[in-house]
Structures are given as C-alpha cells and as structure tokens.
C-alpha cells in the first residue's frame, strides 16, 4: 500500500496540497463517532496508486482535543506509510512545532517547506539541504498555492515510499518532566535545527498601514463588513451571467417540449414533468452552482489573502456568545444576500462542528428574497407603518433565533469545554495564486450542480404529485385533501389550510410564496406554475389582497409572514448544507428544528396578535 498522511498546523496549506493532488478523487466524511471532518483521496502517478489522508488541523499533538487524538491514533496505528509534514517556511520557528510533536513517533516522514514565495518576499531564506542533513529526512522547498512543481512532490513520495527515512534527531525530553519543560525542550530543539539554516529570533515587526486600519477596534469592524459586502457584490456579479443563462432553460425549453410531447400524445403528467419540472430544475441547479462558484472564488481569495483571519480577530468577542469563531461573521453577513452563499461561505470555518453550527445559524438570517416578498404580503394587510414594524420584528427575531439555535445545537457542535478564547495567528497578507482557487471553485460548483439537480428533482416530483389534480381544480388535489384534513392541527399554530400550504412552499423557495398564494386564492394559474415560475410579476396585488383579506384574518397573516420567513430557507440551501456537512443526520436535524420552531413562532405570534387584532 502507498498510504500518505498530510500533517500540519492550520494555515500550513494542507488542504491546498490535498486538493491539488487528488482533484475530484476525494471522499469527505466524518471520523467515526466524531464531529471531525475526514478527508481521503487518491491519485495515480507513473502507474502506481497512492491514497492520501488529510489529517485534522491542530497546532500541536499533545492536547486532548478530538482532532489531536484522531491524528495521534491514526499515525500510531500505522495507517500511514509516509507522513508528509507541512510547515510554513515564512514562520519556520513556530510552525516546526508540529514536527517536534511528531518526532517521537518513528514513522517515515518528509518535510515540506510550504509558502516559499511568502518567505522570499519577507527576505527569509532557508537552507533546505542543511536542514535535511540535520533531521535525517528529505526537506522540500515548495509553494503549494502555485500549481507548478507538484511532480517534484509526487517524485518525492515515490522515492520515500520505496526507501523511507526516519527522523534522526528529536527533542531531548529525557529531562523534561512537566508539560512546560517539554514545550521548552521542543522549541530549544527547533532553534538548534534552524541555527544557521534560516533567520530566527528577530522581534522587528512593522504592521502595514492597511493592517493597522484593519485591526483597529471600531474602524476595523467597518472595514471587515465593507469588504465582505463588496465580496458579496463581486460574487453576485460573477454568478449573474450564469444565472441569466440558466433562466433561459425554462423559457426556451417549456413550450417546444410541451408541444412536441403533446403532439405525440404522451400523457399530460409526463408532459408537465419534462416541459416544466426538468427545465426549472436545471435553472435552479444552475443558479445554485453559479452562487457557489461566485462565493467560493471570493472567499477563496479573501482567505488566501489573509483577510478572513482579520475578520475573525474583529468579531470573535461577539460571536463567541453563540459558540462561534469570529470568522463566522463572513458567512452570516453573506446570508442576508443569499442563504446558499452564506452556507457555502462556511468553508472558512476551522472544523466540522464550527462549520455545521455556522450553517445552522446562517439559516436564521433572512435572505434577499424574504426582504422582497414579505413586505409585499404584509402590505396587503397592514398600513405602511405596520409593515415597517413587521420588518423590525423580523430583524429582532433573527437574534433570538440565533441564540435559540446555539442553545439547541451549540453544546454538541461546539462543546463548551472547547470554547476557549481566541488564540490564533494572523497570517501575513499573501500574494494570491488564482489557479487553484478557480479550479476548486469550479469543482465545487460542478459538484453542487449534480447534487442539486438530483435533490430538487426528487422534491419537485413530490410536490408535483401533491398538487396534481385531474380536473384542474385545486379541490381535487392531494394537497387540498391533506391540507383540509390536518387543518384542525395547523389551526393551533394559527394557520388555516391555505396558509399552511403557503408555509410548506416557503421551504421550497421563498420566491414561491407569492405565486402560491396567488394560485390558491385567485386560482388563475396552477399551483405548479406558481411555484416553479416563482415570479412576483403577474401577481395581481390588488385582487390578491382583496380576496386574501376576506379569508385570512390579520393575526393569521402575521403568523404566516413569520412562519414563512423563519422556515427552512429553501430547498437549495438545504441541499448545499447537506453537501457542505456531508451529514444527512445533521442536515435533517437542523431542518426539523427550523420547521418546528417556525410553527411554534407562528403559534405564539398568532395567539398574541389575536388579543389585539
């Protein structure tokens, strides 16, 4: 077996190397029984197959976090034939600590001095030959973000797997009894190894002008928010052309397919599946993939540049209250634009638990579509100042919901004992290599396209079956029958059957809400058209408002608005969350929580509002 494990501190470039080596041939899951991400992949080089495991990132191996235990167990069990240790060449003195921690383990290894380009920019040189002689293992100067030079790494793996080397030097821990002495012994060893090999020990540090502003207490927060919002605009600009192309699918495919299939006397059921469902699913999937592409390009850039670390520094104090790292501010802000964007933005989080918790919290943020749809509905029932109050109420509840989410899921995803104050490095601003960012972004977008298509198709078919009516009248659909059957129950939450149907459709897409209301109350278009065309145009606001206000009391309308806003964001966000977390269990848990809490909220809103209205 040719099994290689990648070991390194956060920011050592492990994932970049892993992605570049494995490309699409990777499997991401969780370590058994742990909320820690497990990344495995494989590649073939000169006819031989290699498997590669990206060990969880941690700064050391002595602690008892899940990440550290998994890494130590994995290496000690002999699962890796070769351990590739990555260190940051521009800050060797500190990042070599991982090598010092590994030193006692007696497993063949190689040392990769990553980010040589950054080191050179900082005027740091490293004598790799001398370091290799002292350590007894090969030392490779490397720039992982630069796509070139990977064959040198593969060659190194090939040679070392056939004639491996063990470290010939290790920290002297014989005298070191306590934790403190061991730590000091490790750094003493590092200093010895690096003596004359590279420049160390200087305390000269001059902050760049931009960094002085970016780390300022108040101004820095505005800069962070500004940059993320700008990033969102750029991401939108990237995804717009793709989205527009995607929106052509239903327009161009609907009629020709419908006509062609009707002409050859295919059952109308199948006609609407092929002419309406599939083109619209293609559109949804394209839009999603485009979003994921844009967000990954922008966040990939900001992350590699080193900017995300600054936002983490700025917002750690606030977000630690819900159990999140400061970095989560970026995906959360992005969530105001689009939940899919926010969800895929959680890529910046350090570990799986943080990522899952950040996604669950991003779901609470009302996206752009909500702000477009809910005020319209509110306006049908309430005067302008009432709508304003509704919007303020929605915003205020966002904070309550975030706190509620953290209360329910925080303990498991971000255990209180691991919620320590921030100790992290702020990496120097890097020159950004676009090649691998673009490659990874397209890979992710392609992947999400395929998965989204499958998920959306399944859910669409379910919805289609539910709303199908042989006579064309809504009263003959399953949806109506189920809806009216369970109405006594939904009434407890303040929702009549029409409102409840609308609530269900809001989990599909928020844009669908107006269309569905229109189909139910005005009945001019079919429910299916309403949901899939998902347009607000064509909805006769006046007529709808008039008919709705006859059936729905203001208190129910208010309950409906809140329930729809804080329901599952949309089927695409659901599928992105599954893609990012690769945990069906957790995605389902979070989804169930949102449906439940939205209904509970509707219940509270309805009964309180009934007292006054």
């Amino acid at each position: 077996m040719n099994s290689i494990a990648l070991l390194g501190q956060p920011n050592s470039g492990k994932s970049t190397v892993f992605n570049a080596l494995t490309g699409a041939r990777q499997h991401v899951g969780n370590w058994p029984g742990k909320t820690v991400e497990k990344k495995e992949g494989s590649f073939t080089y000169k006819g031989a197959k290699y498997t590669i495991t990206d060990l969880p990132g941690s700064y050391g191996l002595t602690g008892n976090s899940d990440e550290e235990k998994i890494t130590v167990d994995y290496i000690k069990a002999g699962h890796a034939d070769l351990v590739c240790i990555l260190v940051d060449a521009s800050q060797l003195e500190r990042s070599m600590y991982m090598l010092a921690e590994f030193a006692g383990m007696n497993v063949p290894s190689v040392l990769v001095l990553n980010m040589m380009d950054v080191a050179e920019d900082k005027g740091i040189s490293v004598n790799a030959g001398e370091l290799s002689r002292r350590l007894g293992i090969p030392v490779l100067p490397f720039t992982a973000a630069d796509g070139k030079g990977y064959d040198r790494l593969r060659d190194l793996f090939e040679t070392e797997l056939s004639s491996p080397h063990l470290l010939t030097s290790a920290p002297n821990l014989a005298e070191a009894k306590s934790l403190k002495e061991q730590g000091e012994a490790k750094y003493t060893w590092i200093t010895q190894m690096l003596e004359g090999v590279t420049t160390t020990g200087s305390l000269d540090y001059k902050m760049s002008r931009f960094d002085r502003l970016a780390t300022a207490p108040v101004l820095g927060k505005f800069i962070s928010i500004g940059v993320i919002l700008l990033g969102f605009i750029v991401a939108m600009a990237i995804c717009m052309p793709f989205m527009m192309l995607g929106s052509m699918f239903p327009v161009l495919m609907n009629e020709p397919i419908a006509n062609a299939l009707t002409a050859i006397h295919i059952h109308p059921w199948l006609v609407s599946i092929f002419s309406l469902l599939i083109p619209n699913t293609l559109y949804f999937s394209t839009a999603m993939a485009a979003f994921v592409l844009g967000v990954n390009l922008v966040f990939g850039y900001l992350e590699e540049k080193g900017f995300i670390a600054r936002t983490a520094y700025q917002f750690d104090g606030v977000l630690s209250k819900v159990g999140l790292q400061g970095k989560a501010v970026a995906p959360i802000l992005m969530g105001f634009g689009c939940t899919i964007g926010g969800t895929s933005g959680t890529r910046v989080m350090d570990n799986w638990g943080q990522k899952m918790l950040a996604m669950a919290i991003v779901w609470a943020v009302p996206c752009g579509s909500i702000w477009a749809v809910m005020p319209v509905i509110s306006g049908m029932f309430f005067p302008w100042w009432g709508t304003l109050l509704v919007c303020v109420g929605i915003l205020a509840y966002v904070f309550v919901l975030m706190w509620f989410v953290s209360l329910v899921f925080g303990k498991k995803l971000s255990p209180v004992e691991t919620r320590t104050g921030m100790i992290m490095e702020l990496p120097p601003y890097h020159k950004v290599h676009w090649g691998h960012i673009v490659k990874e972004a397209f890979y992710k977008a392609g992947d999400i396209f395929v998965r989204a298509f499958r998920t959306v198709i399944v859910i669409s078919v379910i919805f289609w079956v539910l709303q199908y009516s042989a006579s064309g009248s809504l009263e003959d659909s399953l949806l109506y029958k189920i809806g009216t059957f369970i109405e006594p129950v939904t009434k407890i939450f303040g929702l009549g059957w029409q409102s409840f149907m609308t609530f269900l459709s809001s989990a599909f897409a928020k844009e669908a809400v107006l269309g569905v209301l229109n189909a139910i109350f005005v009945g001019q278009s079919s429910l299916l058209d309403a949901t899939f065309h998902a347009k607000t145009s064509g909805v006769e606001g006046m007529a709808l408002a008039q008919i709705m206000s006859q059936t729905i009391a203001p208190a129910e309308a208010l309950a409906l608005i809140f329930a729809c806003t804080f329901n599952i964001p949309c089927v695409m966000a659901l599928s992105t969350t599954y893609r990012e977390s690769h945990s069906l269990k957790w995605t389902a848990r979070v989804a169930a929580f949102y449906v439940g809490s939205a209904l509970l909220l509707a219940c509270i809103v309805y009964h309180i509002a009934s007292l006054f209205m």
Partner: protein, 74 residues
C-alpha cells in the same frame, strides 16, 4: 506584570504561564513558552492582544493574557 496591561510596541519576556494544562498546551503549540520574548503590536480595550512572536503575528484573547505574567525587556 500581565501581558494584558502592556502597552503596544513594548518587548516583554514571559515569566509565568500559570498551571492550567489545557491552556499551557494551547499557548505552547502556538509558540509561547516561559522565557519567550514577545513584542506587543496592539493592545486595545476589549480586543484580543496582538503580539509578534517567533516570526508570527498572534491574536490572544484578553482573558488568557491576564494569565500571562511578563517582564519588560529593553
């Protein structure tokens, strides 16, 4: 003196890191041991303290900085 009380642009040496094993592990693995010299880069109220140590800019939260006893060096 504590690290959290130190003004920016001062260089300090770590005298004591306390006895909490969990904290010791974390702070050691990111580059700080007793005897390490540190440059304080930024120390603003209510914000983590920014320090430069072993070629690295680090952000350390205030609460932890209160556990770090230091002495000023020239």
């Amino acid at each position: 003196m504590k690290l959290s009380d130190m003004q920016k642009d001062k260089c300090v040496r770590v005298k004591s890191l306390g006895v909490d094993a969990h904290f010791l592990n974390r702070i050691t693995s990111i580059g700080i041991t007793e005897g390490t010299t540190i440059r304080v880069v930024r120390n603003d109220r209510k914000m983590p303290v920014l320090v430069y140590v072993r070629q690295t800019l680090l952000a350390l939260n205030r609460e932890d900085c209160e556990k770090i006893e230091i002495e000023e060096v020239a």
